[in-house]
Structures are given as structure tokens and as C-alpha cells.
């Protein structure tokens, strides 16, 4: 064991599982505390002492958590904990918690080695999407401007948009599929929010994925694409234990 946290503190904030030889993030962690490493064989956990006072899970803590995980991710493979994960600071407690899961944690780190996450959000430009629906459905277009059919018109447009959103979502995922290792869809088929998904890719491949998404989107004017990253693989850290 190395880099144990101060024994005076009552709780530890857990950032991520990682390998014990990772370069420690330099900046302060949650509550301004310095980040240290709790190693148990081939698996380590990035932690920092958490003062008893103050409410856990505030926005500043979230920002600090994200910063530490991001820095660690830039130094090596990490499996981020869901925010906020807090354990009693007693070393034995921590190791009692980690040891039974060590093989699984190690497998998770092996699985995530060399990979990163991109966050994909697809939306419709409302005016463009509605105009497209009306252009494809002249009968709906005739209902415009009438108060007695407003609900019918709106309902029909929403139904068309949702149907289109599912198709567009499948199409964009198909467009990037050759470049990604995995995808996790969080939401699909809304009349405004077409698709929210996370993509697991090899590090350094973000631009290729972006290019592929852009090539596809160029053919679909109502579609707006937002691609964020590269992120630590938050969305893919907890997959195998559940299955």
C-alpha cells in the first residue's frame, strides 16, 4: 500500500479505479484536498480525504471530481466511479470493499485500456424539421393557421418528428459504427432531442468519428450534431458487472 490518506479524516471521496503506477493528478481534489492512491495489488483507487463538514455532492465537488478524473484519464486508464462515491476513510474498510471486486476492477481496466468516450447529442433545428414534415405532408400544411385544428396539426407533426428521429438515430449510429468500439444510447426518438448517446472509441479517433458524423449530417439539414470529448469512459465503466 502506498500514498494512504490522512488517518484523521472520516471519509474518502473516490474518483476512479486505475492502475497503481498512474501519475497522480496535480491539482486539488474535492474540498481542496490532495489526491492520493489506495493500491491493492494491481488495482488502485484515486481518493481524497473529505472533511466531515459541508454537504457532499455540491457543484464545486462535481467540478473537482470531473477535473481529477479527467487528469487521471490523460495519464492512463481509469474507470470512474459514479459521482459522488464516498467511503469511510479507514484503510481496512476500503480494502475490504475493494479486494472482493479486484478481479472485476482489473478486467474493467483491461477492457477500457486505450479507449475514450465521446458524448453525442443530436437535435433537430425546429423550424427546419417542421418545414420538412410539412413539405412531405401537404395535407398537414393545409391545416396551418387554423385554430380549430391546431392540436391535430401539432400532434401529427410531433408523431412525424419522433418517427423521423428514430430513423435518423439509427442512421447516424450506422454511419459511425465502423469507427467505434461500443455505443450506449441514453435517449432516442424525441421530437426535439433526437438522440443522446455515448460512444466508446480508441483514443485519438475522435476527429474521424466527427468527420463521419458530419458527412452524414450534411445530407440531413434539420439535424444538429454536438459531439463532446474525449471524456474518460464514464458510461462504459460499469457495464460487465451488471450483465
Amino acid at each position: 500500500m502506498k500514498g494512504t490518506a490522512s488517518p484523521q479524516t472520516e471519509a474518502l471521496h473516490c474518483y476512479a479505479a486505475c492502475r497503481p503506477d498512474i501519475t497522480l493528478p496535480e491539482g486539488p481534489g474535492v474540498a481542496g484536498a490532495s489526491v492520493s492512491l489506495l493500491a491493492d495489488g494491481p488495482v488502485a483507487i484515486l481518493v481524497s480525504p473529505l472533511p466531515a463538514e459541508g454537504e457532499p455532492g455540491d457543484p464545486e465537488s462535481l467540478a473537482a471530481h470531473a477535473r481529477v478524473v479527467q487528469q487521471a484519464f490523460e495519464a492512463g486508464v481509469v474507470a470512474p466511479f459514479r459521482f459522488p462515491t464516498i467511503v469511510a476513510s479507514d484503510d481496512e474498510t476500503v480494502h475490504e470493499l475493494v479486494r472482493p471486486h479486484r478481479d472485476w476492477l482489473l478486467e474493467t481496466l483491461d477492457r477500457l485500456e486505450g479507449l475514450e468516450e465521446l458524448r453525442l447529442r443530436v437535435r433537430y433545428d425546429e423550424d427546419a424539421a417542421v418545414a420538412e414534415v410539412l413539405a412531405a405532408n401537404p395535407r398537414l400544411a393545409k391545416l396551418r393557421g387554423r385554430t380549430d385544428t391546431a392540436l391535430r396539426l401539432g400532434e401529427a407533426i410531433v408523431a412525424e418528428l419522433r418517427h423521423q428521429a428514430v430513423q435518423d438515430s439509427q442512421a447516424i449510429l450506422a454511419a459511425v459504427r465502423p469507427l467505434i468500439e461500443d455505443a450506449m444510447v441514453d435517449a432516442v426518438g424525441g421530437e426535439r432531442d433526437v438522440l443522446t448517446a455515448s460512444l466508446l472509441i480508441h483514443r485519438g479517433r475522435a476527429q474521424e468519428v466527427d468527420d463521419a458524423a458530419e458527412r452524414w449530417a450534411a445530407e440531413r439539414p434539420p439535424v444538429q450534431i454536438q459531439l463532446l470529448g474525449p471524456l474518460p469512459p464514464y458510461s462504459f465503466a460499469d457495464m460487465e458487472k451488471d450483465s
Binding site: F81, R82, T85, A128, L153, G154, I157, V158, S198, L231
Partner: protein, 104 residues
């Protein structure tokens, strides 16, 4: 864009909060005081309001430009071409940045 900027963090807050390792024995305390969560977590439910909103959207569109897919580019006001400036794609030391964000 750095993850530390308000926008950057906001953009990935659902990922950080809802995803990640959960070990059964680990305590995960409740999250308090994260106001932006309430914005991001809103559930969009189709309702009368939604229908009326889209009916209104349809009403305000100027369809005189024609029908079919071709005029839609005009309705976008050239938005698709102005989007995602190359600077957005520049890496900043591997930190989180917007690879591209199409203008709203």
C-alpha cells in the same frame, strides 16, 4: 472547451452523475445542490403544450420558398455551413473540448 468551464461541465454532467462504477458495498450519497441537474433532467412529455408549440412552429414558417427538401437549406439561414469552426476541433492537451457544435 475545458471541462472546467461552466458550459463544459454542464454538457457532460449527466454522464458524470449517472454513469460510472458502482460497487455494491460503496456508499453513494445523495446529490444535493446541483441546480443545473433540474434543467438537464427535465422530462419532455408530449402534451397539449407540446402539440400547440409545434402547431405554432408550423404556423410561423414561411413556406413560400417552395416544397421539398431543397428549400430547407434556405430555411436554415445557411446555418449548416457556418457550423463547427475548425478551431473547435483543435485539441487542448486532451482536455475536454467541443469537437464540434452545430449552432443553435
Amino acid at each position: 472547451m475545458s471541462i472546467m468551464s461552466q458550459t463544459g461541465l454542464y454538457d457532460v454532467i449527466d454522464v458524470i452523475l449517472d454513469k460510472g462504477l458502482v460497487i455494491d458495498a460503496f456508499v453513494r450519497v445523495s446529490v444535493v445542490g446541483i441546480e443545473v441537474l433540474t434543467i438537464d433532467a427535465r422530462v419532455v412529455v408530449a402534451s397539449v403544450d407540446t402539440y400547440l408549440h409545434f402547431a405554432e412552429a408550423a404556423n410561423r414558417l414561411d413556406l413560400r420558398a417552395g416544397t421539398g427538401s431543397q428549400p430547407l437549406g434556405g430555411l436554415l439561414g445557411g446555418g449548416t455551413t457556418a457550423l463547427g469552426s475548425p478551431s473547435n476541433a483543435t485539441g487542448i492537451g486532451g482536455a475536454v473540448h467541443k469537437i464540434r457544435e452545430r449552432a443553435e
